[in-house]
């Protein structure tokens, strides 16, 4: 398929603007290099993007069991609310008295999300999960600095953690201490006890963890860190297992981030925009990025926390994403929020029960909202890897699960169905997995060749990195 630059010709254009109705002004110094942009008529423009859209598999196209990504259904009412002219036409520099609706959205989102997570305050400013992690770690840093604990620079991270955790710690100017996970995939409590000390700033953890298990030692874990003078950070990526059922605030966490584009149903958009609000207990509220929204009598106003770490981006956050999440929370409400998470856990356990006689599970059940299979034995026996099974799924119109993560499991496939999948869909997917297992045993070659029916087949990723071609050249 050709690129947009290869279509149309120079004289083709849309008729979008009227003539300039004031005297034309030019800049004294102008660009010399010619600007090459596409030149197509509107008909060919829409055809080009239709062709591109047909080569994308979204949640709307089929099962999307990406572990740790929570690819649940994206409700269309959320999209409609986020497109209301009363929201999209508001200029962020308007006087707050003329933006009371927007401020109410931020305030309500904070209130509801704090209730769900057991936090006292929240900033809706961070644009994504990693951005939230960075922000939350800065809160921890600021807290220790204010207390004169300049030696508290170490962040403890389990080796099962998502890559953004240690990367965020480093961006926050802290050092990472990796601790091994136990045999059961959970935090090795003795290793944690050995790792904490007067230089501990905090611990970063997700619970349920990245292998889909709720760590039953969680209270002991957070206590150990608190006793050593550190704070506990909760990576909210897996909140879909416990939303409305258990609260991170009750597990002993002091600061959290949420992924609205995971747990709270906002669409992934091919990689963004997301939203990563940061919630905290009151000991950290004074450090939150500003401005935050407060209620002053009947009106909403902006306020900057007393010892704010400062902005982490322009304006107030990915606002229309927040509108979608708020619509979702208000739709589900008191009963719907825990119903979602409990059914997410039910679905994962159901799929695990149906697959455990065919595939090896990395850890024994019950799992939470996701489970990890290990294909190490299958690979050794047949030569078919997790990658091969994943590519085989593509030929069945099913998006593969998360592959090769977490790093502590070999040949990992992490499956998260979410609560919005029907039993019918899950039963079909289970049968496909079983078929692929059969193929791996009887004819692994067929899987090495997969996928066969997708718009392109396996791509040369090594070549792409070795000889990077990162743009179209007009020469």
């Amino acid at each position: 398929m050709s690129l947009i630059f290869e279509k149309g010709c120079n004289d083709q254009h849309l008729t979008l603007l009227p003539e300039c109705d004031v005297p034309v002004v030019t800049l004294s110094s102008t660009r010399e290099k010619e600007l090459h942009l596409p030149h197509v008529c509107e008909n060919d423009l829409t055809r080009h993007y239709t062709e591109l859209a047909k080569k994308v598999h979204g949640v709307n196209d089929g099962f999307y069991p990406l572990g740790s990504c929570t690819m649940k259904y994206n409700p269309k009412v959320n999209e409609a609310m986020a497109s209301l002219p009363g929201f999209i036409n508001v200029h962020p520099h308007q006087d707050p008295s003329t933006m009371q609706g927007c401020l109410e959205v931020i305030n309500k989102a904070e209130e509801y999300l704090c209730e769900i997570t057991g936090m006292d305050n929240m900033s809706l400013q961070p644009a994504a999960g990693a951005h939230g992690e960075f922000t939350g770690l800065l809160l921890i840093k600021a807290y220790h600095l204010k207390n004169g604990d300049t030696q508290r620079t170490k962040i403890i991270v389990p080796d099962s953690a998502h890559g953004t955790n240690p990367a965020s710690a480093v961006m926050a100017g802290l050092t990472v201490v990796n601790i091994p996970s136990g045999e059961d995939g959970c935090v090795d409590v003795e290793a944690l006890r050995a790792a904490v000390g007067p230089d501990t700033a905090g611990l970063m953890l997700t619970n349920p963890n990245t292998v889909g298990i709720f760590d039953k030692n969680i209270l002991e874990i957070t206590q150990i860190v608190h006793d050593a003078g550190g704070l506990c950070y909760y990576d909210g990526a897996n909140l879909n297992a416990v939303m409305g059922v258990v609260r991170p605030g009750d597990m002993g966490f002091d600061v959290i981030h949420l992924n609205l584009h995971k747990t709270f149903s906002t669409p992934h958009g091919g990689g963004g925009p997301g939203s990563g609000p940061v919630g905290c207990k009151s000991i950290l509220s004074e450090f939150l990025p500003g401005p935050v929204v407060k209620k002053d009598g009947n009106a909403y106003v902006f306020a900057t926390p007393e010892n704010s770490i400062g902005r982490v981006k322009n304006f107030y956050g990915n606002f229309t994403v927040i509108v979608k999440a708020l619509t979702y929370v208000m739709t589900l409400g008191k009963a719907g929020i825990p119903e979602a998470s409990m059914n997410a856990v039910l679905n994962a356990n159901y799929m695990m029960s149906q697959l455990k006689d065919t595939y090896d599970m990395a850890y024994e059940g019950p799992c939470m909202h996701e489970f990890v299979m290990t294909l190490e034995r299958l690979h050794d026996k047949t030569g078919a890897s997790a990658l091969d099974i994943a590519k085989g799924l593509l030929d069945h119109g099913i998006h593969p699960p998360t592959m090769y993560f977490p790093l502590i499991v070999h040949e990992a496939l992490m499956i998260e169905p979410t609560e919005t999948e029907s039993k019918e869909t899950m039963d079909h997917v289970v049968s496909v997995f079983k078929e692929l297992h059969k193929a791996a045993v009887e004819n692994p070659e067929s899987l090495h060749a997969a996928p066969l029916t997708t718009p392109v087949r396996r791509l040369d990723e090594v070549g792409a990195a070795r000889n990077p071609i990162l743009r179209f050249s007009f020469e």
Binding site: V56, A169, R311
Partner: protein, 438 residues
């Protein structure tokens, strides 16, 4: 209660039996019993779709919107062709995940490759990434790109958007980087102050073009000064202005960043917007975030993949140059569609009309006695004196006009192609009447 759970009670019973437990609560056996909320969640009851739509629409109606917008300062109201929103609302694109499984994500990957190409064309730079959160975080991330063991201090012009400087400060608090602000002189970067400030340990100097006050900086000269000190030159640019002005590449920039919001994104109370980052080939491996590259498949067909992943967090973890994972993919896609719809002539048209209308408005304001506070050349924003900004803006507001932003010294105005001459003349009339009534 609103719900998106399709499972029926009888299906649930079957599933529980297959798992081997008797109730949903049994699945939470690892959770300490007294931690379970058991329904004790202080949220309002869920709503049907009709009710929630009514409730949210009511909230939206509490906002005021204006038919004429003369305010910019980092958020610009430009014309968005209908085809842009139509294309971008396609379900496949909206609901897709990050294109890690390249075979079924070619549409997104190709669209991002096209976006990267367009950013390179606009800025003149060699390489672009697949976007970051916004212009402010792009500016902050550019500092990390420039730092090394010997070059540790970051410099930024005081004529930069205050929100960008604030964001840089926060990121520098994280990385323990000293950030020094170079003062302004008559609204533009003080070149003598810059020359004096840059030492051998300077990592980079950042300037916004056009700057926060709408003025055109001597970007080429600032680049020379920066390079003479051995530092990297970073420019934060308005992508619309790049259609006309000297590109960052032509000014010697090592890195060009900015916010792509003017390229087809709603002003929307500030987000989501679109950070872009482009650089020279020499700095390619320092670029944070996702990058799409071209390659071939086993049949020799051209395809696209996320590439150079060894820079990123999922590979390098604590050794990664940035923690960034999500980008603003759908916003980048939107910008690509906008730029395709506009084409070169369209983008030049938007830039020319914005520039021209701003100058028309400035001259008419001057006739009324509201002179510009700065003398330099400007693009589509400018600051005029105004002793009673509040009063003037209230008069405009009564006519449904959002006037410029009150800043120190007066009002920062912005005019884009969206504002007709008739609207500008009405604004002038309104101000004239207010002034005479005072």
């Amino acid at each position: 209660m609103g719900s998106y759970v399709p499972t029926t009670d009888s299906e649930r019973a079957l599933m529980l039996k297959a798992i081997g437990v008797s109730s949903m609560e049994d699945l939470y056996c690892n959770v300490p019993a007294d931690m379970m909320l058991n329904g004790n969640l202080n949220l309002p009851n869920g709503l049907s779709e009709l009710e929630v739509a009514r409730a949210i629409e009511k909230i939206a109606s509490k906002n005021k919107t204006y038919h004429t917008c003369l305010r910019g300062a980092g958020s610009y109201r430009h014309f968005i062709p209908a085809v842009v929103k139509s294309v971008v609302s396609r379900e496949e694109l909206v609901t897709a995940y990050t294109p890690y499984q390249a075979e079924i994500s070619q549409g997104i990957l190709q669209a991002i490759f096209e976006f990267q190409t367009m950013i390179c064309e606009i800025t003149g730079m060699d390489i672009s990434n697949a976007s970051v959160y916004d212009g402010a975080t792009a500016a902050a991330e550019s500092i990390t790109m420039c730092k090394d063991k010997k070059h540790t201090k970051a410099y930024v012009s005081a004529t930069t958007d205050p929100q960008v400087i604030e964001t840089m400060k926060t990121y520098c608090f994280g990385s323990d980087t000293e950030l020094i602000v170079i003062p302004a002189k008559d609204g533009r970067t003080d070149k003598e102050a810059l020359k004096a400030a840059l030492g051998a340990d300077a990592a980079c100097f950042y300037v916004q073009q056009p700057n926060y006050y709408g003025l055109m900086e001597d970007a080429e000269e600032l680049g020379v000064i920066t390079h003479e000190a051995g530092a990297k030159y970073v420019m934060g640019v308005n992508p619309i202005a790049c259609a006309l002005m000297k590109t960052p590449a032509e000014c010697g920039a090592d890195i060009a960043v900015g916010d792509g919001q003017p390229l087809g994104l709603d002003i929307a109370f500030g987000g989501p917007y679109l950070g872009f980052m482009a650089c020279t080939t020499a700095m390619m491996r320092k670029l944070p975030g996702r990058i799409v590259g071209q390659t071939t498949d086993v049949d020799g067909k051209i395809g696209y993949v996320l590439t150079l992943s060894a820079r990123e967090q999922h590979i390098k973890r604590e050794k990664a140059s940035s923690n960034i994972c999500s980008n603003q993919a759908l916003c980048a896609f939107t910008a690509g569609v906008y730029l395709t719809a506009m084409g070169r002539t369209g983008l030049e048209g938007v830039a020319t009309q914005s520039l021209s209308k701003a100058h028309y408005f400035a001259s008419r304001l001057e006739e009324l006695g509201f002179k510009r506070v700065h003398n330099g050349e400007f693009f589509h924003e400018f600051v005029t004196e105004c002793s009673d900004a509040k009063g003037m803006l209230a008069a405009l507001e009564a006519e449904g006009i959002l006037g410029g932003l009150p800043v120190e010294g007066g009002i920062l105005w912005c005019v884009t192609e969206m504002v007709s001459k008739a609207e500008l003349d009405l604004a002038i009339e309104t101000i004239k009447n207010w002034k005479e009534g005072v």
